[in-house]
């Protein structure tokens, strides 16, 4: 299970990117993307913005206020994308690439297959590889917790008066990165 987390400004500029693997079930927290997958990830994330906009302005699923957590919104081959949108229209995108045998990650019986909490323990359905259900409640909850933590850190970062999101300032703060990594370790 590998993840790419990206924050995009309202003008589609990437402000922050972080790549990590799962820490659950013996994962070492290192992303296992092949070179070609890594090259494609930005394209996939960028293309998901179309769907983000569609969902964002579409009929609201929650009553009253619009939800910030848009849940799983898009899929490209084996890459699943979840989104969180802030009040200032900054998009948090999380790309999830479930591990499969091709990537040669530890073939520990069963354990490696349900790599993480977000890997959908609820939806495992018996067989080891390839079954990843992005809409299972456990997955959604885990991703949500991750986003909430990151959002908290993000709000603290943009309160910095010297940081202008609107100008497309890239987040350089090591503290922020550490917080994201911690949240990832904790929930994903």
């Amino acid at each position: 299970m590998s993840y790419t987390f990206t924050i995009l400004s309202p003008t589609d500029t990437p402000l922050f990117a972080h790549e990590f693997g799962t820490c659950r079930s013996g994962g070492d927290g290192v992303a296992r993307f092949t070179a070609s997958e890594r090259a494609l990830n930005p394209f996939i994330l960028h293309s998901a913005l179309d769907i983000v906009e569609e969902v964002q302005w579409g009929p609201s699923s929650s009553s009253g206020s619009a939800a910030m957590y848009l849940k799983h919104i898009d899929k490209y081959q084996n890459n699943f994308i979840s989104c969180w949108i802030t009040g200032a229209n900054v998009r948090f995108l999380l790309l999830t690439r479930p591990r499969d045998e091709v990537l040669g990650l530890g073939s520990g019986a069963g354990g490696g297959a349900r790599g993480s909490l977000a890997g959908g323990r609820a939806g495992l359905g018996g067989n080891a590889g390839g079954v990843y259900n992005p809409t299972s409640p456990a997955t959604e909850e885990a991703v949500k917790n991750f986003f909430v933590d990151v959002y908290e850190a993000w709000v603290k970062t943009i309160m910095n008066p010297f940081f202008h999101v609107g100008n497309g300032d890239v987040v350089k703060s090591p503290v922020f990165r550490a917080r994201v990594a911690a949240a990832a370790k904790k929930y994903l």
Binding site: P14, F43, E53, E54
Partner: protein, 787 residues
């Protein structure tokens, strides 16, 4: 492009102007056509070029006839897609701008009545004397493809409509009967046919339905375009006015793919499109006893060796033709015979007057026999191979005198307008009254209900393949309905309606059939009915609400593609591909909100692996086109799928690059960049960068590699060096194969052109390619400076 220009050698920098000319071409790496590519790639000769014309022209689109069949937009579920308020049901301009009706017309023209052709030995000899090896069928085939003038069809409610583009397919009587001969009455005949036939018969098959052949053919076309049309010359000329292809026109290769997918439909039990609607029986005026000859041929076809397989209706309309030899025959005698024919056979007769003399191109009023547009992939492949090996400058296509052409045109028009169509209309009316109405009525519903619910009846037994044990008409052992069973007749009725473009009746009939076939567990038939139900719903000009679309059409396409592939062991991937491809094309035309569905079906094609390498690239490109249709609303273009489209274009570019098709790859990359809003052609100063740095590097790398590939394809390495020095690390390798041309009297001509060539490609500041490369290099340098 003139043949001369086309024959310009591919930039050998120091072209040896002697007779032993050698040409350096890159060897194809793992190309799917490598089985065929044992042949040398010759520079085009004009006759070969004719074959590739369909894709060599820039735009493959034909003028759209939007007025007859408008495609209205749809009430959508999304907030961004405008509803169908602004256009009524029949406005011609309801196609979104930039969309062409091209594929819709293609689909309409693909499903046309088939007419079996049978001629006696005298006739065949007469026609061979004119230089047509294929005999009478070859003579007729091109003319059936579009019937001259308008054809008026009356539909089931009595409304008449005229169509310009109606046609029929003339098919060989042997093909149809041969396919179902012997033990091959099983359902999965269609799939194995390709392999078996290639070993058994030397003749190329007129029956299509073989995806591998289609891929191979399109690959040939692609290679031709890679090696022949990307001359410096045309590149240089195009540079002044960069053509920005609109989103509506698709690549000619994709159109070719679709066309070949739909041509030469195999004759199978579960659909009747390829079953003959009428049969032409022709004899020549040389025959001693014409009426007797007709009887003999008729008997051969009706119960003799040319009989159709058991599951096909054998009592179709017969049309009798007397061929009069203008030069050797006696017209008075022919007229007499013709009168006798009319007395015997009634109205369905024709006297066709042909000249028996062979005609050569230099004759007065000689006309080239048109090329068949709807030949099957294997046929076209065979044709290409033939012409490549012949290496002849002359065009081998036969020529006919003008009067013959006119006579044949008249004959075809009369056949279609006065016999085939009225006959089909009559059949539709009869079946509608006798079969469909009964099934639809109260008793029919009871029948189908009782069939389903009898306690001792079919449902338990139908799993065991005992024929006639249940009251179902389906012969589950052999997998067909007898042609006189109500189900088979209804299917025929629906297919006739479909071919006559009466979508409404076709849709309702297919819908009834769907449930019947489902109850009978006739999966192949079920899939066929679901497929055609979806197609007729999408083709009909009536507006579709997004709800019906979601509920019905999606399910139909889904079950059809599923039943064609997954059920039982008799998978029919060809039909599944047809379902998905047609569904995606028609959905794409529906409106912007259907574009998502279209793209979904297209990616289904990729996921299920229905296509090979070439098809993969073509359909990836198509997904991009599907997303690009959706433009969004307002000045911000909210709800568009611009970024999705761009992603798929990049994917397509990469796929093409891996297939060594530089030209296509570059085209896709340009499309992607246009969609991303980056115009690198004029991007000197304020170039818009892609949002992600990684994206920019990826695209730049890809661009460089494609340029390198183009240079290799063109076979010049020294001039390409400056572009390639960067790529050494990227592992692009050139394999070269040196091929020697045999000594030929045309060597002299070559040397003349060879001498002229270096003038064109000095490779200096005039070459747009190098210029672009340099500019790219500069951009790169700039980018690195910033970082």
């Amino acid at each position: 492009m003139t043949p001369l220009q086309d024959a310009t050698p591919k930039k050998p920098p120091n072209y040896p102007a002697n007779l032993e000319a050698s040409m350096i071409l890159p060897k194809q790496r793992a190309s799917p056509a490598s089985s065929l590519a044992g042949l040398p790639y010759r520079r085009s000769n004009p006759s070969l070029h004719k074959l590739f014309e369909s894709t060599a022209s820039i735009s493959g689109s034909r003028p759209s006839s939007g007025t007859a069949t408008p495609t209205p937009s749809v009430v959508s579920g999304s907030v961004f897609s405008p509803g169908s308020r602004q256009n009524g049901t029949g406005t011609p301009g309801s196609l979104p701008p930039g969309l062409s009706d091209e594929h819709r017309n293609l689909i309409q023209r693909a499903f046309v009545p088939h007419v079996a052709v049978l001629a006696d030995a005298d006739t065949e000899e007469l026609i061979r004397g004119k230089g047509l090896e294929g005999g009478f069928l070859q003579l007729l085939r091109p003319f059936g493809e579009s019937v001259p003038g308008k054809v008026t069809i009356r539909d089931s409610v009595g409304a008449s409509k005229s169509y310009e583009d109606f046609g029929v397919r003339f098919v060989d009587v042997n093909e149809g009967s041969g396919a179902g001969r012997g033990a091959e009455l099983r359902i999965d005949t269609a799939n194995r046919e390709g392999g078996r036939a290639s070993s058994s018969s030397l003749r190329p098959r007129r029956t299509g339905g073989d995806v591998a052949h289609i891929e191979e053919l399109v690959d040939r076309h692609l290679q031709y375009s890679e090696f022949n049309t990307q001359d410096m010359v045309s590149d240089y000329l195009n540079q002044g006015n960069p053509t920005a292809p609109s989103e509506g026109t698709s690549s000619p290769f994709y159109t070719l793919y679709l066309r070949r997918l739909l041509s030469g439909m195999p004759m199978v039990p579960h659909e009747t499109f390829a079953h003959p609607v009428a049969g032409v029986i022709a004899i020549s005026s040389r025959s001693k006893n014409p009426i007797e000859e007709f009887r003999k041929l008729y008997n051969r076809q009706h119960d003799g060796d040319l009989r159709l397989p058991q599951w096909a209706e054998n009592d179709f309309l017969r049309y009798y033709v007397l061929i009069h030899d203008e030069e050797n025959g006696d017209i008075a005698k022919s007229n007499q015979t013709f009168d006798a024919m009319k007395r015997h056979f009634g109205l369905h007769c024709h006297l066709l007057r042909l000249k028996s003399q062979q005609c050569i191109p230099s004759d007065d009023d000689s006309v080239r026999l048109p090329t068949c547009e709807w030949m099957s992939a294997s046929e076209e492949l065979a044709e290409i191979q033939k012409r490549e090996t012949v290496d002849d400058m002359t065009d081998p296509a036969p020529y006919l005198p003008d009067s013959d052409i006119t006579a044949i045109r008249t004959f075809v028009r009369e056949l279609v307008a006065q016999s085939v169509i009225p006959n089909m209309e009559r059949n539709v009316a009869t079946w509608n009254e006798q079969v469909l109405a009964r099934r639809r009525g109260l008793s029919g519903r009871f029948m189908s209900l009782s069939k389903r619910w009898t306690p001792f009846g079919s449902s338990r037994n139908s799993s065991s393949p005992t024929i006639g044990s249940s009251n179902s008409n389906y012969d589950s052992l052999q997998g067909f309905y007898r042609p006189d069973a109500p189900e088979a007749q209804m299917r025929k009725l629906a297919d006739y309606c479909f071919m006559l473009r009466d979508w409404k009746l076709a849709l309702s009939t297919y819908d009834i059939l769907r449930t019947d076939f489902n109850n009978d567990k006739a999966w192949r038939h079920y899939a066929g009915a679901a497929e055609m139900a979806a197609m007729s719903a999408l083709l009909s000009p009536a507006p579709l609400s997004s709800k019906t679309r979601m509920e019905n059409i999606d399910t139909w396409i889904e079950v059809a593609s599923y039943s064609y592939t997954d059920r039982q062991r008799s998978a029919a991937p060809y039909y599944a591909l047809r379902t998905l491809a047609l569904g995606l094309e028609l959905l794409r035309l529906r409106s912007s909100s259907a574009a998502d569905d279209a793209a979904r079906w297209a990616s289904r094609i990729l996921e299920t692996g229905l296509v090979g390498a070439i098809g993969n690239a073509l359909f990836t490109e198509r997904i991009s086109a599907c997303y690009a249709v959706r433009t969004g609303v307002g000045s911000l273009r909210m709800g568009s799928r611009r970024r999705k489209a761009a992603l798929w274009s990049v994917m397509a570019a990469e796929t093409w690059f891996q297939l060594d098709k530089a030209l296509q790859a570059e085209k896709c990359l340009d499309t992607a960049l246009r969609l991303y809003g980056v115009n690198i052609e004029h991007g000197e100063g304020g170039a818009v960068k892609l949002p992600f740095d990684q994206m920019q590097t990826f695209i730049d790398d890809l661009r460089q590699q494609i340029l390198g590939l183009r240079l290799q394809n063109r076979g010049f390495d020294d001039a390409g060096e400056e572009g390639e020095t960067r790529e050494d690390g990227l592992g692009v390798e050139v394999e070269e194969a040196t091929e020697t041309f045999e000594k030929s009297p045309r060597g002299h001509r070559k040397s003349l052109i060879g001498a002229a060539a270096p003038l064109i490609d000095v490779g200096g500041p005039r070459s747009p390619l190098l210029e672009r490369e340099r500019r790219l290099g500069a951009d790169e340098g700039k980018a690195e400076g910033f970082e």
